[in-house]
C-alpha cells in the first residue's frame, strides 16, 4: 500500500496504490485513467532522468551540464551521481557527447547537454 500524488496534470490526485497482489495492482483516488497508469508504473519501477554538472578544463565555461540519456531507476540516482564525482572533461564538448558511459551497467550514458568551446588563447 502506498500513497502518492499523480503528476499527470495540475489536479494532483492523491492516489492510493494497493500492491498486496503483485499480479493485480489496484489504484484508487485517481480521476482519470492516466492516474491509474501512473500509479502502477510508480509502484512497479519508478524511473527518473538525472541531471547534474561536471567540471570542464580549458573551456569557455567552468561547468558542463549533463543528463542521463534515458531515465534510470529512482533507487539508483545517488549511485549514478557518485560516478560524476571528480570527473573533469576537456573542452571542446558538444551536446550529446558521452561523459560517463554505461552508468551502473544500465546501458544509459551521462551525456553533455551544453556546448563548451575551447577557451580562446
Amino acid at each position: 500500500m502506498k500513497e502518492m500524488i499523480c503528476i499527470c496534470c495540475p489536479m494532483g490526485c492523491r492516489l492510493t496504490v494497493d500492491d498486496s497482489d503483485p499480479g493485480n495492482i489496484k489504484v484508487s483516488g485517481n480521476t482519470c485513467p492516466r492516474g491509474a497508469k501512473y500509479g502502477k508504473d510508480e509502484m512497479i519501477c519508478p524511473k527518473r532522468m538525472v541531471t547534474s554538472v561536471v567540471r570542464v578544463e580549458g573551456g569557455d565555461a567552468a561547468m558542463l551540464s549533463v543528463k542521463t540519456s534515458d531515465s534510470i531507476e529512482k533507487a539508483r540516482i545517488f549511485d549514478a551521481l557518485a560516478l560524476l564525482k571528480g570527473v573533469t572533461v576537456k573542452a571542446p564538448v558538444k551536446i550529446g557527447d558521452v561523459v560517463v558511459a554505461d552508468v551502473l551497467g544500465t546501458g544509459v550514458d551521462f551525456i553533455a547537454t551544453k556546448d563548451v568551446a575551447a577557451r580562446a588563447k
Binding site: 500524488i5 503528476i7 496534470c9 538525472v50 541531471t51 554538472v53 569557455d60 551540464s65 540516482i77
Partner: protein
C-alpha cells in the same frame, strides 16, 4: 547607427522573436545580450522538462536554448553578447555598452523588449532577522552551483515552493546538501505537482504549507531560521514557532518582470502583471516597442515564452514594413477569479486568431473558463482545476476572434459548472 529591429535580451524570448522576425522577411535585426553567451536563464536550468510542447521531447534548459541559438546562427542574425542596454527612449533610441565596443547608440524602427524577469529579494517580503551571509535567492544559488561550480551551503531551508525553489531542493540534495524543509506561505504550492513529487517527495523533503520564516539567526553566517504557522490573513501565529538549524536560506518567493528599460521609454505597465500593457500584436502602448516573454508577464513554461515571442517577432517585422494592424482597441478585461489576461487589448482590424494568456488568483476546481463579449459567451472551456501556478491559454477561432474584436466590452472569467 540605424537598425530596423533591436531585440533586447538573448534568452528564449529574444531568440524566438529574432527567428520569426527573420522568417517574416526582416533582415536588419540585432540582438543585445548582457551575458557572455546567448540562452538567458535557460543556461543555468540544467534540469529536464523543457520543450514538451515545442519539440515534443523533454530537453534540459541548455539544450532547449541551443535549439533556438542554432536557429539564430543558421539565419546569420547579428547579435552582441556582453552588451548591456543602458537606456531606451520612446523614439526607440537605444544606447548600450560593452567592453570590446564601448558605448553604442542605435536608432531603431522597432524594439522588442525580451529582458526576462528577476527574483523577488528578501527585502521585498519583509523577513525580520540578521543580515548574515547564507541567504540567497534560489536562482542565485542555481547559478553558483550550475554555472560557477560552488556550493552555497550544506544545510538548507527553502522559503517558497515556486518551481525554482523545488528544483533547487533536489539540486542541492544531489550535491550532498541536506534540505531540511520547504516552507510555503500559502495553503498551496505555486510549483508544478511533478516538481513537488520528483524534487521533494522522492527525497523525503518536508513541504510545510501555511508557514513562513519569521526570524533568521546567525552572526557572520546563518545558523538557524525560525518558522511559524500563519493564519488565514497570512500573519504568523504566536506560539507556533520552531527553530531549524541551517547555514543557508534559499528564497523562491516569486518573479517580477524586469521593466526598468520599459519605464525609460514611457511604456505603460500593468500593476497586475508588472509587465507592459500590450495589444494583440504584443506591441506596448509606446509605438513600435514590443514586449514578449517574462518581461511581459511571468510564464510557467518556456514553450509558451517561445510561442508568444515568435508572434511578437513576426508582428514587429510587419510593423517595420508598415503593415501593422491599426484601428480602435477593444479592452479585454479579467474578472471572476481571473487575475489578468495578456494581451490587454485587441485591435479591431487585426485578422489573426487570438490567443489569450492568463492566470487565475486562487485554486478553483470544476469551473468553466469563459470569454464574454458584450454579455454574450463566445467561448467556454471546462477545466477540472485551475491554479495560480499554471498559466491558462485560450485560443479563439476566427469566428470567436471576430466576435471579440467587434464588441464593446470583452472579459475573460471563471464560471461554475452548472450541475
Amino acid at each position: 547607427m540605424e537598425k530596423n529591429l533591436i531585440i533586447i535580451g538573448g534568452g528564449p524570448a529574444g531568440l524566438a522573436a529574432a527567428k520569426s522576425a527573420y522568417d517574416a522577411g526582416e533582415r536588419d535585426i540585432l540582438i543585445l545580450e548582457r551575458e557572455d553567451r546567448l540562452g538567458g536563464i535557460l543556461n543555468q536550468c540544467i534540469h529536464n522538462g523543457f520543450g514538451l510542447h515545442t519539440f515534443k521531447e523533454e530537453l534540459t534548459g541548455p539544450e532547449y536554448a541551443a535549439r533556438y541559438i542554432k536557429e539564430v546562427l543558421d539565419r546569420k542574425i547579428e547579435y552582441k553578447t556582453g552588451t548591456t542596454v543602458l537606456s531606451i527612449d520612446k523614439n526607440k533610441r537605444v544606447t548600450c555598452a560593452s567592453e570590446s565596443e564601448g558605448l553604442m547608440v542605435y536608432e531603431a524602427k522597432a524594439v522588442i523588449l525580451a529582458c526576462g524577469c528577476r527574483e523577488r529579494p528578501r527585502g521585498a517580503i519583509n523577513i525580520a532577522g540578521c543580515r548574515a551571509a547564507g541567504i540567497f535567492s534560489a536562482g542565485t544559488a542555481q547559478k553558483l552551483i550550475n554555472i560557477d561550480g560552488y556550493m552555497p551551503g550544506k544545510e538548507v531551508v527553502i522559503l517558497g515552493s515556486g518551481d525554482i525553489g523545488l528544483i533547487m531542493a533536489r539540486r542541492m540534495t544531489f550535491q550532498g546538501a541536506k534540505v531540511k524543509a520547504v516552507v510555503e506561505l500559502m495553503p498551496y504550492s505555486s510549483g508544478l505537482n511533478r516538481n513537488i513529487v520528483q524534487c521533494l517527495n522522492d527525497f523525503d523533503i518536508p513541504l510545510m504549507f501555511s508557514h513562513t520564516v519569521v526570524d533568521i539567526k546567525g552572526k557572520g553566517r546563518v545558523s538557524s531560521v525560525v518558522i511559524a504557522a500563519v493564519d488565514e490573513k497570512l500573519n504568523p501565529i504566536k506560539g507556533t514557532e520552531q527553530e531549524i538549524k541551517c547555514d543557508t536560506l534559499l528564497l523562491s518567493v516569486g518573479l517580477l518582470p524586469e521593466n526598468e528599460l520599459s519605464r525609460m521609454a514611457d511604456v505603460n505597465l500593468s500593476p497586475v502583471t508588472g509587465g507592459a500593457v500590450v495589444d494583440d500584436d504584443m506591441m506596448t502602448e509606446t509605438d513600435g516597442i514590443f514586449a514578449c516573454g517574462n518581461v511581459l508577464h511571468v510564464h510557467d513554461l518556456v514553450d509558451f515564452v517561445s510561442e508568444e515571442s515568435e508572434w511578437a517577432g513576426a508582428r514587429a517585422a510587419a510593423y517595420i514594413r508598415g503593415e501593422k494592424a491599426k484601428g480602435e482597441k477593444v479592452a479585454i478585461g479579467a474578472e471572476g477569479g481571473v487575475r489578468y489576461v495578456v494581451p490587454q487589448y485587441a485591435l479591431r482590424d487585426g485578422e489573426e486568431n487570438l490567443k489569450l494568456r492568463m492566470r487565475v488568483g486562487n485554486v478553483y476546481k470544476n469551473v468553466r473558463l469563459c470569454v464574454v463579449c458584450d454579455g454574450e459567451e463566445v467561448y467556454s472551456k471546462r477545466c477540472m482545476i485551475v491554479t495560480p501556478g499554471e498559466m491558462e491559454t485560450v485560443s479563439l477561432n476566427e469566428k470567436q476572434t471576430r466576435a471579440l474584436k467587434n464588441c464593446k466590452k470583452a472579459t475573460v472569467c471563471l464560471k461554475a459548472v452548472e450541475k
